[in-house]
């Protein structure tokens, strides 16, 4: 299958292309030098970018479905019947799997990673990913409260920890190492939490500091494509920026094994809080941005808040309990044996609330204060800060100080008083938008054929109906928001799948996972420990734990030979 996208204004900053009028040639699902006899689509006057890459979004798995099940009131806010092409859909902050695929694709996204995969529930996550059409997919395997990891690290058996992590990634068909409130979710097994990097995890001879450092060391020894993906301790707590800064400090001793960061600070907004009570709750985005600016080992994603009713969900059980006790709203908790502790509770970000206003400002401050767009990724931690389909609004805010001012004026005065957003006049250009919505994500994940349009890249392309030459996004931010809400064309794997904001073809993407090889003898030894843990402490047999290939759509293993022996 061949295709030419003609005459669009192309933004491909990874290859130094910034708004040049160019043709994009596609053959057999890849970007090529040139094709002849291909179908041509006129893209003149339009903005052309690589397909969007989502790096952190809760779109599939146990807690996402618990949220759907707990919130029937969410679903009828957004419904559409079956068409000749698409399935019926419903859902707002907890969209159905089909809607998730269609909605991302309509915004020009072609790849999405689900934020947290608890190993025991991996099969569930993959069943849902299987039912998310339109996108290439992956999942981040949670390890920050894993008993075997904690044991190996506390005993200083780093090679064993590496081999176990590699096995776990393979068994769960996971793509990267994720850690959520390291040590805290284990403490939640007793209704407790950890509140500093040096708190001891109850009954385990280890601290959050040692877990985080250990996971980074595992990650670099295995030389995995992505870095450790960290949701630090104390999410959402007043004054938590000190914990965050201390955590970021830990990257100083870690040598990257690849050309990338060693830590992704995820949903950074939720970790950049100052003040010592909700009364003087304030932004510390400047401190966090400073730490990121001064290091070449850190990247962050925003975790932007957008006002409205949403559902929070995270493998940070104590945090969800704490939040639901603040709001009094319904609360779901789902501790998972030996591994993690997810929770879910609804939340409303209100323009009238001083706290919500400051939260809104912090996300944008982070994106605007971190100098290099290569270190920033646009996320809402869907649906924690807001549902993912609010991205076009956030793009408009990033590109227009005026649009930010308009919101700021409506908010509780704390949002002006306790943040610096009002004084920032930086406005993103189109290239920067390209970085923070696809290119930085692909780089962070180590996806060499995504996030750019160079020869050999996947033919995943988004064409937006807006003219970057003649549009002034600072003034015409509403047009920007409209354009990013629905593509003129989304091309996935070389096929047109969305045209003028409507899904015209349903495709099923690849599932990416990491297969990291370690020494055979070491692996045998580790499997003995794994076997013991399954016989004694798990409630399923080891043979029934790994996810079979039948659950994955077009599985693609990213093979890594780690050298760990």
């Amino acid at each position: 299958m061949k295709l030419v996208l003609k005459n669009g204004y192309v933004y491909d900053p990874a290859n130094g292309v910034n708004g040049e009028k160019m043709d994009i040639f596609i053959e057999n699902g890849k970007i090529v030098e040139e094709v002849s006899g291909a179908k041509e689509i006129d893209c003149s006057g339009m903005l052309v970018m690589p397909g969007g890459v989502e790096i952190h979004s809760h779109i599939a798995g146990g807690k996402v479905n618990t949220a759907r099940l707990m919130r029937p009131e969410d679903h009828l806010r957004n419904v559409a019947p079956r068409t000749s092409v698409t399935r019926s859909v419903c859902g707002y902050s907890t969209p159905s799997t089909f809607l998730t695929g269609y909605a991302y694709s309509k915004m020009g996204y072609t790849t999405a990673f689900t934020a947290a995969l608890p190993p025991l529930m991996a099969r569930h996550t993959h069943e849902e990913l299987h039912d998310i059409p339109m996108l290439d997919k992956g999942a981040l395997t949670v390890m920050g409260n894993n008993w075997l990891i904690m044991h190996y690290l506390s005993e200083g058996r780093i090679e064993h920890a590496c081999a176990y992590a590699a096995w776990l990634l393979r068994a769960t068909r996971g793509y990267a190492i994720k850690a959520v409130n390291p040590g805290g979710s284990e403490a939640w097994g007793w209704g407790r939490d950890v509140r500093s990097l040096d708190d001891r995890v109850p009954h385990f001879d280890i601290t959050p500091r040692e877990i985080i450092r250990g996971l980074m060391e595992i990650n670099e020894r295995l030389s995995l494509p992505h870095s450790v993906h960290l949701h630090p301790n104390n999410l959402g707590r007043v004054g938590n920026f000190t914990t965050t800064l201390e955590t970021l400090e830990l990257t100083r001793d870690v040598k990257p094994s690849r050309e990338r960061q060693v830590l992704q600070l995820t949903h950074a907004q939720f970790h950049s809080y100052g003040g010592d009570s909700w009364r003087n709750f304030s932004s510390e985005a400047e401190s966090i941005a400073k730490a990121v600016n001064s290091s070449d080992r850190l990247v962050l994603d925003m975790g932007q808040v957008v006002f409205g009713d949403t559902t929070t969900m995270t493998a940070d059980g104590p945090m969800e309990y704490y939040l639901s006790s603040l709001t009094g709203l319904k609360w779901a908790n789902k501790d998972i044996e030996l591994e993690t502790a997810p929770g879910v509770t609804p939340f409303v970000y209100s323009e009238k609330s001083p706290v919500s206003g400051v939260q809104w400002a912090i996300g944008l401050e982070l994106a605007l204060l971190v100098e290099s767009p290569e270190k920033v990724m646009l996320t809402t931690d869907h649906p924690n800060g807001a549902p993912f389909f609010t991205y076009p609004k956030i793009i408009a805010w990033l590109m227009s100080a005026k649009s930010r001012e308009e919101v700021l004026e409506r908010l509780h005065r704390a949002a002006q008083k306790n943040t610096v957003l009002g004084s920032i006049d930086r406005e993103y250009g189109w290239s920067e938008i390209c970085w923070v919505t696809r290119t930085a994500q692909a780089r962070s994940l180590g996806l060499e054929s995504k996030g750019h349009l160079g020869v050999g890249a996947d033919a995943d392309v988004a064409v937006y109906r807006i003219n970057p030459e003649s549009t002034d996004p600072a003034r015409e931010y509403e047009a920007v928001e409209r354009a990013f809400s629905a593509t003129a064309l989304t091309v996935k794997g070389g096929e047109v799948v969305v045209r003028d904001g409507e899904v015209v073809k349903v495709v099923s993407g690849k599932t990416l996972y990491v297969d990291a090889g370690v020494g055979e003898e070491l692996e045998r030894e580790v499997l003995k420990d794994v076997d013991y843990y399954f016989k004694r402490f798990y409630t399923v047999n080891l043979a029934n734990y790994p996810v079979q290939e039948v659950y994955l759509t077009s599985p693609e293993a990213v093979k890594v030979d780690s050298g760990v022996r």
């Binding site: 707990m70 079956r82 025991l120 639901s324 998972i336 399923v540 079979q548």
Partner: protein, 435 residues
């Protein structure tokens, strides 16, 4: 030749034991180890084909007549595609893969799809909408729980290995001495076989569970009871139980249909979830329903991720509409709305209330099942299916929502397909008819 299959998942109840060993000799199941008596019987009966449906049948002139699979599929598709408001019911004793095809079929037909939770733990789901859900996987109970309560549930009969695998008897990481490190409490209207094992048995008067839960909440939250007795339980017993709950280090409340299907229904569960939430201000406490059919949970999961709602979904608007009491199977049946039914892996003729069954008998029924039931006897189209978890692979969700891969240990009877394949054929044909 004898072949032993290990780590087999038992597709009977929501306990979903996955340590079963099955010996197969000459293509038949010869011996089953580790399973309970119910599970063992299910495995062994698979190979006794005299108990099975083996040929597709279509009713002609009042009698079921053997036909080819193609004819049966054609007739089934005609009935369903020709119906104004078909009801697709059952689903809890088959794989997620079959459920998934069933959901698309319901969507294409604009029908109503519901599963057996409508008559078991549907009230639990409704309570979750109201109050949330504070739970865990069963390994958390095994490793941590020092207080285990069964309320309105009798696992010694309904989930025979529940106590030995998960709750009371296993040695856990923090409960090295197994049952000696735990306290078992049973609340029920009669002294069941589970109650006989308990350190404390609380006999509640039938239909008054809600009051007892409320009394416990009052005491847990520091109030004095104004009466000497609530729901037939003395103040001392209530205070003692409340103190046990507050002072344990990890407590779990398992509840069964004694709580969901007695007066109060979803209100009972709502109140019980709130009790557990109250307890979490004192200690760690979780709650879990004792789900019956081995994949009743799977249906709610698949339907939730595909259509947003856990059961009783009406696609007549083209998209999913959910309103228990309106879109639940018995309500649709008793209002006389529905004019055809597809029943998969279930026997509503035996289990539904009489007014529902009377209406069922007035409409054409398509039944897909592994063995004859009163429902297949009155059906107009009967299509045999292979047994998921014995003759075909698939996915099932345990009562704590842990998903497992069902294994295949023997071939299905000759010519018998999985219900997934049968449903796919019906779906394809229905799509053609509907254009």
């Amino acid at each position: 030749m004898r072949v032993t299959h290990r780590d087999v998942v038992c597709s009977f109840c929501g306990t979903l034991c996955d340590d079963i060993e099955v010996d197969v000799e000459d293509g038949r199941i010869a011996e089953v180890r580790h399973a309970c008596r119910i599970g063992t019987t299910k495995f062994l009966s698979a190979s006794r084909h005299e108990h099975r449906l083996l040929k597709p049948m279509v009713r002609e002139n009042g009698r079921l007549k053997e036909v080819s699979l193609e004819e049966a599929v054609e007739r089934a598709a005609e009935i369903l595609a020709g119906a104004r408001r078909p009801l697709l019911y059952g689903w809890s004793s088959t794989s997620c893969e079959a459920q998934s095809v069933g959901i698309e079929l319901a969507e294409v037909l604009g029908g109503v799809i519901d599963n057996t939770s409508t008559v078991c733990h549907g009230p639990t789901t409704i309570a979750v909408h109201e109050a949330g859900f504070i739970s865990c996987t069963l390994g958390e109970v095994k490793n941590r729980a020092d207080l285990v309560i069964y309320w309105g549930a009798n696992p010694m009969h309904a989930h025979p290995r529940h106590l030995s695998r998960y709750s009371i008897y296993p040695r856990g990481y923090f409960r090295e001495r197994g049952h000696q490190d735990r306290t078992l409490v049973v609340v029920d209207v009669r002294r069941t076989d589970t109650a006989r094992l308990a350190q404390k048995f609380v006999r509640v008067q039938p239909g008054r569970d809600y009051e007892l839960i409320s009394a416990l909440r009052a005491v847990v939250n520091g109030r004095k009871l104004p009466t000497d007795e609530v729901a037939g339980v003395s103040r001392e017993d209530i205070e003692e139980l409340a103190e046990m709950m507050k002072s344990c280090s990890f407590g779990v409340l398992f509840f069964g249909m004694g709580l969901t299907q007695s007066p109060g229904r979803h209100r009972n569960i709502d109140n019980a979830i709130c009790l557990v939430r109250d307890l979490n201000t004192h200690t760690k406490f979780v709650i879990m329903p004792m789900r019956g059919h081995y994949n009743v949970v799977g249906f709610s999961e698949v339907l939730s991720w595909q259509a947003g709602f856990p059961f009783a979904v009406d696609f007549s608007k083209g998209y999913a509409w959910y309103n228990p009491g309106e879109t639940t199977a018995n309500d649709v049946l008793q209002r006389g709305e529905c004019d055809a039914m597809l029943v998969v892996a279930s026997d509503p003729v035996s289990n539904f209330p009489k007014p529902s069954v009377e209406n069922m008998l007035r409409m054409p029924i398509v039944a897909i099942d592994v063995h004859p039931t009163p429902t297949t006897m009155v059906a107009d189209v009967v299509i045999p299916a292979a047994i998921a978890g014995i003759e075909v692979e698939g996915t099932a969700y345990r009562m704590d929502v842990v998903p497992l891969r069902l294994r295949k240990v023997v071939e299905p009877p000759e010519g018998v397909l999985s219900d997934v394949e049968v449903l796919q054929r019906i779906l394809e044909r229905v799509k053609e008819i509907k254009g």
